[in-house]
């Protein structure tokens, strides 16, 4: 999919035809266009993302559009660069972690994750699994926590793999199921960390 430019676009400053966010003629910055988060960072739309590649793409984009690059320019270009940088940050924040990334992918497929759109989750197998995990965490003594954490980490890795496969095969039902699992497993992970290492209190 992606966004295609269907008509020639003219430069916001000199009126010349442009093919890029920075006008080839007068070098002035253009307002940001409507792009999905992947396209904004120049990545292909895919759940499986290399963290280092994402970071490189993010840094490269900010290097090009950050307001610091346009400090000496006119008000219009300053505003555009602020808009660009804001959207780049939003893309980075969304794609950085697997859960928001999966959620976003489902959203742009028109399949928002249940629970996000006010609907309740009707997946008895999933609810049962979640309950078992919760009980295991509640019953765990401090010395059980490392083993439980290892099991949870293994599960998280497996879910991410399953999500990659589901999205690659365009299996949106499967992706939804796995994203919901990732959602509650992530919550469990946060609780487990709190239980294992309570927040440091500054005296």
């Amino acid at each position: 999919m992606g966004v295609e430019i269907t008509a020639p676009v003219s430069c916001n400053s000199c009126g010349g035809q442009i093919e890029d966010a920075i006008c080839g003629g007068c070098k002035s910055l253009q307002p940001p266009g409507q792009l999905d988060h992947f396209a904004r960072l120049g990545l292909s739309r895919d759940f499986a993302i290399d963290g280092q590649a994402l970071e490189r793409a993010y840094f490269a984009a900010q290097r090009r559009f950050h307001p610091d690059r346009f400090a000496g320019r006119g008000a219009k270009e300053k505003t555009f660069s602020l808009q660009h940088a804001t959207l780049i940050n939003e893309a980075y924040e969304t794609l950085r972690e697997p859960l928001p990334r999966a959620r976003y992918l489902l959203e742009i497929e028109g399949r928002p994750l249940p629970g996000d759109d006010g609907k309740t989750i009707a997946d008895p197998e999933l609810l049962m699994e979640a309950m078992e995990w919760r009980e295991a965490l509640e019953d765990a003594a401090p010395h059980d926590l490392p083993a439980l954490k290892a099991k949870l980490d293994g599960e998280l890795t497996a879910v991410e793999g399953a999500l990659s496969r589901a999205f690659a095969g365009h299996d949106l039902d499967g992706a939804t199921h796995q994203a919901l699992r990732l959602s509650y497993l992530s919550k469990l992970g946060a609780e487990l960390r709190r239980k294992a290492a309570p927040r440091i209190a500054v005296p």
Binding site: I22, K27, F59, Q62, R63, R64, H66, P67, D68, R69, A71, G72, R73, L82, A85, T86, N89, E90, Y92, E93, A197, R199, I200, A201, V202, P203
Partner: protein
């Protein structure tokens, strides 16, 4: 003539070749300020004829004189005529009249209250000045020094602020620069500037912690450095902890050794003596000092070990804050590539030892900790005017949110979110026919409104009357690259809009802020309980409102006994809501719901009948004829 060739997008800006103008870096500190300039990536502090780079942040307003005196001279006047001199004004930046009580101790002036809850004003020997004006005088002096040394016009600067400065204080700093005729190219966080000074010098890569202990504030930031990118991962600190507290601890000990008792006028000399002893102990293991006041002279010996014991609890607080920042970023001390020390107070040997122990490595300190921030600011000023490959990616230091029903906070932008950022959240009306919505913007980490800093209040009016919950009000928070916040609100159906650039209305002192930060960590658990209670109260209130509205319309459906039962359950709920027992509120809410259920069913029946029989026969006939 040779032509310079530049990479695309890196053409020098028009006035880069402008040899009669320069952009500088300014460290506007609580105790001392400095100005520096960078040429070809080599920053340098601008010094006076005696080689002194430091301008004490002290301003004296002499009688009959229009031009105030700034710096060393003002410091000397401070000892003779303290009422004419303003020091440590940075602590008052962005503060309202309501929140200076606890910082008032640092000031010899009366605080003037204009009765409007606006910005603090100081009465300095009869002259009324605001903290923004006082800071403006310091900046004007720095600007004059730069112009004198460089022989150029200086009207652009990068100014540093503590990472923990909130929105109001940042805005006040910008305003002060404007008064001094300086265009702020960018407000840069002090720890980030320090990292810049080190990073560019040494081409460093990896994770770095910046430990910045100044005279009155403590900041700790975690940065990722990679090929010229400075990405702030997390930041934290204590806005009211610094070297001044070390002096105070030692001074108290000295007064105790003398057998206690001191007149107010003698406090400053004792603090000064304590400060000299502290500085001596950086090199020496023991030092002696003489105190003479209250018609008694005493001699005191202070050992390094004794001093260390006095300040150990204060240093421990900084170490705990540093650990919390590492935890925020999910980074272990062993994963760091280096630790940078900033601020004069990091010369204290115990501080160095504790920092070394925490991070398991010797901290970097080869750049003078008093100068490193100004040097970094100068580098960034050069980068912004001449162009460079360096990129600073900073974060929101404290969470930004809105007050919702029951005094709760809805966080819209959590702390450590990269800036610039724009986030929107939808809210709705709470009561039928509500036509306006008060928007209260707050900053802080706690769950309840009154525990955080209030930044601004505004009202979105002109919402069309609808049933509760039907309006869609989208509130958008936008933080720019300087960390400055704008909030706008828009009702989706009508497009009614309201917008506010967040200006300080009133706020809190550094002490309060520290208290809040610390409390947010300690009270995370207590907050959850408070939040649940507040939510239960909101549910109860909503039920009572709905029931009252229904009773007003269809009260005739109930017998006297039924009505009494509902009223009884209602007053039981009202009583429970005044208490602190969440379970009791929930139980009373459920009881009222149960009591009202038959009433609700009867209302439903009546409404259905009304819908069916709402049209009388004659009108039905006339409609049929018309059709």
């Amino acid at each position: 003539m040779l032509l310079d060739i530049y990479e695309p997008g890196e053409t020098p800006l028009p006035h880069a070749g402008d040899s009669d103008r320069a952009a500088v870096g300014i460290d506007l500190g609580t105790t001392n300020s400095l100005v520096a300039v960078s040429v070809n990536g080599r920053p340098e502090i601008l010094r006076d004829a005696l080689g002194d780079g430091i301008v004490p942040s002290v301003v004296a307003y002499l009688e009959g004189d229009d031009e105030p005196v700034v710096g060393r001279v003002a410091t000397r006047i401070l000892e003779q005529e303290p009422e004419l001199v303003v020091a440590s004004v940075k602590r008052l930046m962005g503060r309202g009249t309501g929140d200076v009580a606890s910082v008032g101790g640092h000031l010899a002036q009366k605080i003037r209250d204009d009765g409007q809850g606006g910005m603090v004003r100081l009465d300095v020997g009869g002259r009324i000045v605001s903290p923004v004006e006082v800071s403006g005088e310091i900046l004007r002096t720095l600007r004059q020094r730069a112009e004198l040394v460089l022989g150029k016009t200086v009207d652009q600067a990068v100014i540093t602020v503590p990472a923990y400065f909130d929105d109001a204080a940042r805005t006040a700093t910008r305003d002060a620069a404007r008064l001094a005729g300086i265009e702020v190219l960018r407000l840069v966080n002090e720890p980030t500037a320090a990292a810049l000074a080190y990073g560019l010098d040494q081409g460093a890569e990896g994770l770095y912690a910046i430990y910045d202990l100044g005279g009155g504030t403590f900041d700790v930031s975690l940065l990722k450095l990679e090929k010229g990118v400075f990405q702030v991962l997390a930041t934290g600190g204590d806005a009211a902890l610094g070297g001044d507290d070390f002096d105070r601890a030692l001074a108290e000990q000295l007064i105790q050794e003398r057998g206690g008792g001191i007149a107010a006028g003698d406090v400053k000399p004792v603090l000064a003596a304590a400060r000299r002893a502290k500085e001596a102990l950086t090199e020496a293991d023991t030092t002696t000092l003489d105190l003479e006041f209250g018609s008694r002279a005493t001699r005191h010996t202070v050992t390094r070990a004794g001093f260390d014991a006095l300040i150990a609890p204060l240093v421990a607080r900084t170490i705990a804050a540093a650990k919390a920042v590492l935890q925020d970023a999910g980074v272990g001390p062993g994963e760091l590539s280096g630790v940078v020390l900033v601020g004069g107070s990091t010369r204290v040997p115990l501080v160095r030892a504790e920092v070394t122990a925490l991070f398991g490595r010797e901290p970097l300190s080869d750049i003078d900790p008093d100068e490193v921030v100004a040097l970094g600011a100068a580098l960034q000023a050069e980068a912004l005017t001449i162009g460079s490959d360096t990129l600073l990616l900073d974060v929101v230091p404290l969470s930004l949110g809105l007050e919702t029903m029951g005094g709760l906070i809805e966080k819209v932008i959590p702390r450590n979110t990269p800036i610039p950022v724009s986030r929107a959240q939808d809210f709705t009306t709470y009561q039928d026919g509500q036509t306006a919505m008060a928007i209260h913007v707050v900053q802080g980490e706690r769950e309840m409104v009154e525990q955080n800093r209030s930044l601004a209040r505004f009202v979105l009016a002109g919402i069309p009357a609808m049933v509760a919950g039907a309006a869609r009000i989208r509130v958008t928070f936008t933080v720019d690259a300087d960390g400055l916040l704008t909030v706008s609100a828009r009702e989706a159906l009508t497009g009614v809009e309201a917008r506010v650039e967040v200006k300080p209305t009133y706020g809190l002192t550094d002490d309060e802020m520290t208290g809040m930060l610390r409390a947010s960590l300690e009270n995370a658990r207590a907050d959850v309980v408070t939040r649940l209670l507040a939510e239960a109260r909101v549910d109860g209130r909503r039920l009572i409102l709905a029931l009252d509205a229904a009773l007003a319309v269809d009260g005739d459906l109930l017998s006297a006994e039924e009505r009494a039962a509902i009223e009884g359950a209602k007053s039981a709920l009202e009583t429970a809501m005044t208490g602190d027992d969440r379970e009791a509120v929930v139980a009373a809410t459920e009881a009222l719901e149960a009591a009202g259920r038959p009433f609700a069913e009867r209302r439903m029946d009546r409404n259905i009948r009304r819908a069916l029989s709402g049209v009388d026969v004659s009108r039905l006939e006339s409609r049929l004829q018309a059709g």
